[in-house]
């Protein structure tokens, strides 16, 4: 992939998930990120931003801003989501039982599980008054389109 990075401030609105999708797709295209990696990173960021917007409504302090960051080097892509809401570590959530039969499956709790399963690494840090989630995804040489 082509090395690069991006940082953008998001408003606390569900509609911003559309911008997140656009940014991941277009940034991914500029930096020769393979199509499947774009899909998985877009999905993971969509889940995280959606959760922050949806679940921040009743929080004190409420979330006032979300910052999205993307970084590529030749072999790996990092994505960060930062918010100024109250401390919440999604990695503490129980893992849903994905082997349960249909009638026992609850329709919630899939978002964070998808992020944890589809990314190579997910790290949570509380920094001052902010939550920071760092995702990373390795890209195999063969699937990356290199410019000459």
């Amino acid at each position: 992939m082509r090395p690069g990075s991006l940082s953008t401030k998001l408003n606390v609105h569900l509609r911003e998930t559309e911008l997140v999708g656009k940014i991941v797709r277009e940034f991914g295209q500029w930096h020769d990120v393979p199509e499947q990696t774009v899909f998985l990173v877009k999905l993971s960021l969509d889940e995280l931003v959606t959760n922050i917007v949806v679940h921040s409504a009743g929080q004190i302090p409420c979330v006032r801003e979300i910052v999205l960051r993307l970084t590529t080097n030749q072999h790996e892509l990092w994505a960060e989501v930062e918010d100024d809401g109250c401390a919440f570590n999604p990695l503490d959530l129980p893992i849903p039982d994905v082997a349960a039969p249909l009638q026992d499956r609850s329709p919630g709790g899939l978002g964070i599980h998808l992020v944890r399963s589809l990314m190579d690494r997910v790290n949570y840090k509380r920094i001052g008054q902010r939550n920071l989630l760092v995702l990373s995804k390795k890209v195999t040489q063969s699937s990356a389109v290199e410019l000459p």
Partner: protein, 118 residues
């Protein structure tokens, strides 16, 4: 997101296209819910043009499949793109939902010609 449907005697066909996300999942839930209501035996969702789905959309699939199964019917999915199939497998949907490689195979299994002739 668009959903085009065709109601046949043995089967309801629903072709789902575009992006299913948190902004469009409610619309999908209403439309698929309506189709499930009028479906007698089986509902087949063709996902060949489904380019994106997040957990809000997957939640809708689960709800509709449960509802159909409870009513003694069947909810099946066909023609998943590799990306969507990976997501299905990650959350075990390949084990609890009926998935078919393509529409022809699905029709053959759900509503075979003999059944149609009967």
């Amino acid at each position: 997101m668009t959903l085009e449907s065709e109601i046949l005697p043995d089967l309801t066909l629903a072709k789902l296209s575009g992006q299913v996300d948190t902004l469009t999942a409610t619309e999908l839930e209403m439309k698929l819910g309506d189709l499930a209501e009028v479906t007698k035996r089986a509902l087949l969702v063709d996902c060949s043009d489904l380019t994106y789905i997040n957990s809000a959309g997957l939640r809708v699939f689960l709800i509709v499949a449960k509802k159909m199964e409870t009513a003694g019917g069947l909810c099946a999915f066909c023609s998943l793109t590799p990306n969507v199939r990976l997501v299905f497998e990650t959350i075990g949907f390949d084990r609890i939902l009926k998935l078919y490689e393509n529409r022809a195979v699905a029709l053959e299994q759900i509503a075979p010609p003999q059944a149609q002739a009967a």
